[in-house]
Amino acid sequence: MTERFDILIVGAGPAGIAAAVTAAAAGKRVGLVDDNPAAGGQIWRSVDAQPVAARTWLAKLAASPIVRFQGWRIVDSPSLGVLRAEGNRGCRDLVYNQMVLATGARERFLPFPGWTLPNVMGAGGLDAMVRGGLPIAGKRVVVAGTGPLLLAVAAHLARRGAKIVAICEQAPLRRFVPFLRSLLGEPAKVMQGIEYALSTFGAKISTGCWPVAAGGGEVLETVTLRQGKWQREERCDYLACGFHLVPNLELPALMKCRIHDGFVEVDHLQETSISGVFCAGEPTGIGGVEMALLEGEIAGLAASGKVNEANKLARRRSRRLGFVRALTAVTELDPRLKELAEDATLVCRCEDVSCGRMREHASWREAKLHTRCGMGPCQGRVCGAASEFLFGWDSGSILSSVRPPLYPVQVSSLDHPDKLTYQGDSIEQISMLTSKEIE
């Protein structure tokens, strides 16, 4: 017997949760697949200290008759209507009528001397680790890079008792001035900003500032920060450093959804170029939690056939877009960040390939074959985004080499579908065999 979902949703962050809950409320049979041990994506991780919105949506999720696959990785989209995912005991083909892609985003990491030292992490990276149980009280933390994520992370860590030594935004102050005007239409954002400021009271916030080196023996001990002509060294336990979010486009690309300007193209009801495949949240444009929730709801309604209600929500979305675009323009990356990596600085961490070696090649594909950058388990997810910025290599060519398996899988998962381990178990039984869920 083939188990079929009306709507299958990939990604259990805010967008995926909103889509799933909405579709389930419309009476649809919904499946939700996510690679983390618990729902929430990146921004809503953790068992405590959740914002109200998170608690509300997670409660709705828990109460919905959604079939959940937590701790499952997407392997392949063998054909439209079938998604192959791998869990603890092997693979399963999940059959669906409609799909919502809510695969979220990851951070862009830029290399600089010392960036590979343990305890240098992404901004979202350190945040995720703290939510995953890393003690941070009393630790000295430098938060650097770009974008609103820095403030959110710094505020969260400060609330947990971290000593925020510095917050360094690479964009210069003058660029924020016109942006502040657009903030006046967003009182919620102003309140949030004040809240961040109060939380991180005492932290030195610098603009036009970025890390140029991390120092230490076996772990991070110091960070050198540059601002204009000035440079200073700070002792710290952790460096939380990320330069923008880049959308996770691998599954949309594999499914041949049209991608434009680095984001999945969707219509006003979140439908991609492929009929019956919707996309919500960061892969359609970096917009933060509110946007993700809104788009998730729209996609859930549209996929459920509730077009009128979806249309109503879609009108709210266009108003938000202006704010999002303004913020993105403000935090454009300073070209001097390209010069941080020296010849010996590693760009590919899976295969230990240095900037100097990669620079010798004219294209991503050539560099891959001759240095093996991007050939490790991350398949270019870390070094690809960095290379695009550092060497100007075409991101289209990086995406065009996406093929299954999307993530490393067990060799046995490549075997015949009728030999895959979960065969014979019902979908509900299979979904229960996941990592224990956190309530």
Partner: protein
Amino acid sequence: MSKPARIRLLVNGVPITVAPGTTVACAILIAGIPARRSVTGEPRGPLCGMGICFECRATIDDAPHQRTCQLLCAEGMEVGTS
């Protein structure tokens, strides 16, 4: 549902005790050792915290190359780093 107050596991043979819901990557960090050595022998730890970078890989109960940032500690787990 009853939950254990603390979870005990071994990291490179050293007993570590963590709260439920702690990821294996965090347990390794708490133990104060690098999660892995790079292909040229550099010490490495988690970077992305979300299963993308593969720097948090360690061996769990004899299965190598596990992405520890996406796995929760379980009672009696044996974690080995390279």
